[in-house]
């Protein structure tokens, strides 16, 4: 296995870490952080799997997709943060109303 696949597995690990944090934490800001980490994991997988042919130059199409993805992620994060602040101004809470799981 060349080192490129190591980065693809790192992407898998980051995605799972982010998913765990997204489910477990209740504070909305932490959920936004978790979603960003999941996004970074997906981008790593895309670019790593695009450059896995040893000796050839990497495929530029996943690079372009990931650049687009980074910009979309920042605009979604900005909108999510504005929603979080608005909700806190209206209700005073930074967590969604809990449904009892037990």
């Amino acid at each position: 296995m060349n080192s490129i696949l190591l980065y693809a597995l790192l992407g898998v690990g980051l995605f799972t870490l982010g998913l765990h944090a997204l489910i477990v934490h209740a504070h909305l800001l932490r959920k936004i952080l978790a979603i960003n980490v999941m996004g970074s994991g997906v981008f790593l997988m895309l670019v790593a799997l695009g450059g896995r042919t040893p000796g050839a130059s990497p495929d530029p199409v996943p690079h372009a997709m990931v650049i687009t993805g980074i910009v979309v992620a920042v605009s979604a994060t900005a909108l999510a943060l504005a929603l979080l602040l608005r909700m806190q101004a209206k209700t005073g809470r930074t967590q969604l109303p809990e449904e009892r799981l037990e």
Partner: protein
Amino acid sequence: MSAVEHSQPSLLFRRVLLLPLLAFAGGLAYAVLSLPEQATGLSDQVAANMETSGVSNPVTAVLLNFRGYDTLLEMAVLLVALLGVWSLGSAVVHRRVDPEPVLSILVGGLVPMMIMMAGYLLWVGAAAPGGAFQAGSVLAASGILLLLSGRHLPVRLLGRPLRLVLVLGLGAFVAVGVALLSASGMFLQYPPGLAGAFILLIEAAATLSIGVTLTALFLGGRPDPDA
């Protein structure tokens, strides 16, 4: 940690969650490792068409020429996100704090350099790593530094001129596309010799637009000219 997050799900739930998550990660890892070793993807087709694309950086060629429509839609996504943030309320005017002197001096030296760097990144994006998004984000960083050091735009620029610059990137893209549609019959079909010039034109408009949009996203609300 439990004192801070009092509404975390119970310990049992978190223990039970670990097993399906590990299985999910294992399945993904297996899928990644079982992909074929050699896969060039689309790089051969990109390399074959690079001469007609008008630039020599393959990523810029893909972003602005081969998949130009995706980039147009991405500019629209930026604009829609800004509209969403603006629709939620006006920008909070921070408590008046005298800007720190170190920050003011630093900003005075850094911002002109960052504007020059943005121009360089825009220009060099045709041949080396760079491009509209990288240049636009450096512009946005300089805008955020200006905001943080207490300088705001004069009020008369906050209405129509601001909105004009925000729409400039997407507007230039759509205008070029429609003009080329009437000229050669296909949306965003660059004429063979002029592809590089069109790409630079669109990228310049996009850089300005992206910089101002990202700075406005940092502001967090509708800039209120009456405040």
